[in-house]
């Protein structure tokens, strides 16, 4: 049993919502335990400044930010080294999923706002950002799921929350595309033996698969009223 009463391989309760922002091209909101994260996607849109664009694919920009009120102690609103790093790793975790060749010379902006943080926000951010990209109608190879695993009190556990992360022996966030079997992010803080690492990786990947099901459910909830195959056929005919 863990500090918050979970089993070692149990995830925190997750709530996902798609399409929460009117202005954004696509958006998503995630609650994972005490984490609260909002993601907005803008794009594909014209690249400004102009030199940013790539001739053969869309540029993806990602900004991860923590609200000053998101943690126990006030977080300085200036972008910290940690936020800049997380922005980069999230971008790199999502890039392999996006078929950016469809929109050359454009930019896709991903804004991730962590409103309340309780450990594992980069994973939760990736989960929500991937949903928001799908909501924006951007073509993707697959939804990216993410989950962490680590070692607390000598035991391998999945989906660490803040206290476990701070006082545990290791934390390893993993982002994964289950169907394609591609790991797009893997980092580790602390130390694990080879056996522990393999166990933790299995746990994290298993967590990703569970989260992927939730992601699909969330998307289907959003577009529920739209399962009419007959109508789809009419529309694709009109498109020709």
């Amino acid at each position: 049993m863990r500090l918050d009463g979970r089993r070692p391989d149990e995830l925190r309760p997750i709530k996902l919502e798609v399409g929460v922002l009117e202005n954004a091209y696509g958006s998503a909101y995630i609650e994972q335990g005490k984490n609260r994260i909002l993601v907005g996607i803008y794009g594909p849109r014209e690249a400004h400044p102009k030199h940013m664009f790539l001739p053969d694919r869309a540029t993806i920009r990602c900004r991860y930010r923590m609200a000053p009120f998101s943690t126990e102690e006030r977080k300085n609103p200036a972008p910290s080294r940690r936020e800049i790093e997380i922005s980069k790793v999230i971008r790199e975790a999502l890039e392999p999923s996006v078929i950016s060749e469809y929109y050359p010379r454009t930019v896709i902006d991903i804004f991730i706002e962590a409103l309340q943080c309780d450990g594992g926000t980069r994973c939760a951010g990736i989960v929500a950002a991937s949903l928001a990209l799908a909501d924006a109608g951007i073509p993707m190879r697959e939804l990216v799921s993410a989950c962490s695993a680590g070692k607390v009190d000598g035991q391998v556990v999945s989906d660490l929350f803040d206290l476990e992360d701070k006082y545990g022996q290791a934390d390893m966030p993993v982002a994964f595309m289950p169907n394609l079997g591609v790991i797009t992010l893997i980092q580790m803080d602390g130390g694990l033996s080879k056996q522990e690492f393999e166990k933790a990786l299995d746990m994290a990947l298993d967590g990703c698969r569970q989260i992927r099901n939730l992601q699909v459910e969330a998307l289907k909830r959003r577009y529920q009223a739209t399962t009419d195959t007959e109508v789809a056929r009419d529309i694709s005919e009109e498109n020709k």
């Binding site: 091209y25 696509g26 794009g43 594909p44 849109r45 014209e46 001739p55 999923s97 078929i99 929109y103 050359p104 010379r105 454009t106 799908a134 909501d135 924006a136 109608g137 073509p139 993707m140 190879r141 697959e142 939804l143 595309m177 169907n179 394609l180 992601q215 699909v216 998307l219 289907k220 577009y223 009223a225 739209t226 399962t227 009419d228 195959t229 007959e230 109508v231 789809a232 056929r233 009419d234 529309i235 694709s236 005919e237 009109e238 498109n239």
Partner: protein
């Protein structure tokens, strides 16, 4: 309904629009509705941005003036260029001269002349009915809902035009121009178009639209015309 990364089929299939193939597996790349024709698999997206296509009619807004033409916002990731040479009518008619000259903020009906994603789209306003938008109301809807607004073989849009006696120009970029005899009629048409957008993927929409116009316009203009 399918989501990105969902396996559509395994085996000897071709991957068409919004799908991709990995070995023998075909996956979806968008949130959309799965469709197949023979062994061609495709996904009709429920939401997407407007990508210009040669021949599309679009309604755009002039955002900049340059020496050789205008740049136009056509609601797509790529800004369009309307060269000055493409605004001339076939025959110059002095009384319509002012319709050839655009200012920033003007709306323009145009056709996509060329586009291949490596260069920004080129527009032309030379055809009949193209050029500056001088009156009417503009509504923006999602470009993915445009085929529904037009309907099978134009069924929806023709019905809408006939029942409301308004003139409608549907830009493929999700911009619709409505011109009616009175603002009341315009409001009804605007409401109807919004309803079509909200209920785009449901059955029997044409009938419900028909009912709505009938009830809002009390028999419709066509009935009025027949009576007179």
């Amino acid at each position: 309904m399918v989501t990105p990364g969902e396996l559509l089929a395994q085996g000897e299939y071709y991957s068409d629009l919004n799908t991709f193939k990995d070995g023998n597996n075909v996956y979806s790349t968008m949130v959309g509705i799965f469709d197949y024709r023979g062994n061609r698999l495709s996904v009709v997206p429920l939401k997407h941005c407007y990508i210009p296509f040669v021949g599309d009619l679009v309604i755009g807004r002039i955002v900049d003036i340059s020496m050789s033409g205008w740049s136009v916002d056509i609601n797509s990731p790529y800004p369009a260029l309307l060269p000055a040479t493409e605004t001339m009518a076939r025959q110059r008619t002095p009384d319509r001269e002012h319709e050839r000259v655009f200012d920033v903020g003007d709306l323009v009906k145009a056709k996509v002349l060329a586009f291949d994603r490596t260069r920004d789209p080129l527009l032309t306003a030379r055809d009949r009915g193209l050029g500056k938008v001088t009156h009417g109301r503009i509504i923006r809807i999602s470009p993915s809902k445009i085929p529904r607004l037009i309907g099978k073989g134009g069924s929806m849009i023709n019905m809408l035009k006939k029942e409301s006696s308004c003139s409608l120009t549907v830009g493929q970029n999700g911009v619709v121009l409505v011109t009616c005899k009175s603002p009341e009629y315009e409001q009804v048409v605007v409401d109807v178009i919004k309803m079509i957008e909200n209920e785009a993927h449901t059955h029997g929409l044409t009938d419900r639209v028909f009912e709505m116009i009938k009830s809002r316009l009390g028999g419709g203009y066509s009935a009025e015309r027949e009576a007179s």
